[in-house]
Symmetry: C2
Subunit: 339 residues, 2 copies
């Protein structure tokens, strides 16, 4: 028996080099910049790679080149599912050039976001996406290209920002109701930046068109209960209203309960528009007309901006609002003729 143990050691660049009859440096070159290598050797190296089943060691590459081909994504909380679309969008762009996304959520604690970001930076990520409210100091020593996604406030001018256009979404909702012929609107708002922008956009367009508008719940909660309560108040104090725009689908669901409890029908008596185009909205049971954030597009744009910065193509920071899309379903219709 042969005493030499076959050692299932992973092949290295040296094994490939030997097998292809070239130097290790040449193999490295083929991996990074195939164009600089003659056709003959390139093929030889590629064959050797395929034959040996060689895969570069990311750790070694990172250590030697100080680049990781990875992007860190900091989210505020796994429970906020919007990051799923963001992540999908990012991956759809990043997969092709071979970048990996590393996810970190921010556990409770003082400098939650900063800690998560620091952890990712310790792994030498080439770029950072902050999909959470960037607290003070988080964006300070930006050692790698950084983009804030889905947030708008507290972002210094030198940091890139890609966000859903919540103003635009609010305006879209208003336009839709306007076109249907509604003239007296209610809005269920809540606390938080996104809600404020949705409200502003909706309000702006409604006022511009000379419509009546009553806003409820401004600065309050954004749960189903809150939607229910605000909608009850609206319906009881402003019976002339024919359409309600809620700052999110959950509140819209609450509003639906309120509307039904008053013996009114959707969309016959009241049209209802939500926001987020959540699974709730898509449900056959609700068929809720809703504004879709297009967070997937945000993710794609984020990835593109980051790649540009990493590869040194783009100049300064980049800001962009992503257009949302209105998805019309069964809860909006032409208003009933009164009397």
């Amino acid at each position: 028996m042969n005493p030499r143990i076959p050692q299932a050691r992973r092949p290295t660049i040296y094994d490939v080099a030997k097998s292809a009859g070239v130097s290790p440096s040449l193999v490295s070159l083929v991996l990074q910049n195939p164009d600089r290598v003659s056709d003959k050797r390139r093929e030889a190296v590629r064959n050797a790679i395929a034959e040996l089943g060689y895969r570069p060691s990311r750790a070694a590459t990172t250590l030697a080149s100080n680049r990781t081909k990875s992007i860190g994504l900091v989210i505020d909380d796994y429970r906020n599912l919007w990051f799923v679309d963001l992540l999908r969008g990012m991956e759809s762009v990043l997969t092709e050039p071979g970048f990996q996304v590393m996810l970190a959520d921010s556990r409770p604690g003082e400098n939650r976001i900063k800690d998560a970001a620091d952890g990712l930076l310790a792994m030498h990520v080439d770029g950072l996406v902050i999909a959470a409210e960037p607290g003070a100091g988080v964006l300070g020593g930006a050692v790698v290209p950084t983009v804030v996604a889905g947030w708008r406030h507290g972002v210094p001018a030198e940091v890139s920002l890609i966000t859903n256009d919540d103003d635009g979404g609010g305006a879209m909702a208003a336009d839709h109701l306007l076109r249907l012929g509604h003239r007296s609107l209610g809005h269920l708002s809540g606390s938080g930046g996104a809600a404020a922008h949705r409200r502003a956009g909706f309000q702006g367009r409604a006022r511009q068109a000379g419509m009546d508008l009553v806003v409820a719940g401004e600065g309050g909660g954004t749960s189903e209960e809150d939607g229910y309560a605000s909608a009850c108040w609206l319906l009881d104090h402003h019976p002339g209203i024919t359409a309600i725009f809620a700052a999110n689908d959950t509140m819209a669901l609450g509003a639906l309960g309120a509307i039904k409890s008053r013996g009114l029908a959707v969309p016959e008596d009241i049209s209802l528009v939500g926001y987020d185009n959540s699974s709730l909205a898509k449900s056959r049971f609700l068929e809720l007309t809703s504004v879709d954030n297009r967070s997937d597009l945000v993710g794609m744009e984020v990835a593109r901006v980051l790649l540009d910065r990493i590869q040194g193509h783009a100049p300064g920071p980049h800001r962009k609002l992503i257009d949302p899309a209105l998805v019309v379903r069964g809860t909006t219709a032409v208003p009933a003729v009164r009397h």
Copy 2:
């Protein structure tokens, strides 16, 4: 002016060693095995680390030790949101010992799962979690400890397996309805392993208790539409049924539509139980009694098993079913007295 540029180079283990007046090896030791170092030096090193803001380079550690302190998680599709709970559970266990989770979803293609797993292995993950149906060959050359999560079939005996107990969940649903006094049950099933187990558990317990049971939709789809159609069929052909158990919340929602369309009320005329305890079920609008998978517990157990294997504590493969939990809400009640 001083021509030397201050170079914001990250401090290395050498910088720490110099600052603490010890050798680099000692610093490394403090990082890995503080107990082996005298109190005096340990403190000196720790102070130096804090002072310099030193953070070990993951890449270098990986390269030198051939360990990464990271776990790869392969999911089948970002749209299947159950992985969110799984991930949360895993992180709650892995954060403390300093492990990172790397996520990879399996894009379309032939060997989808295998490619994703290979990608993670190329990054030298120390352990692998397959939260998807493990196709042929995926678990073959298991070079690192591997656990299959949330799946039950096609898993060879030598691979660890941590799964939701879908049989148990089905039985729980049956028990609940039994205790309420229901004697004639309907079940909305569908294709797929999870649905089959839920059905089997429900069926087993129902038969054991001598109840009437009609199953609809076996092998069919699992969407809201499918739930609606199957529930219609059930209600029309088996009017004696007083309770329906759906294989998931979405189908339960469809069933609710069907029940209402027949002029029946929930829970007065028909009790309804879903599965997954999704946000849908929690909604105030539905208040759906539902079985919770406890995927967070699956994630925690997965992480524990993996850590044990990685640290060489545990012996062979490990199999465990995680008990689900029934969340009773407003869609189940004592059946109405007939006639």
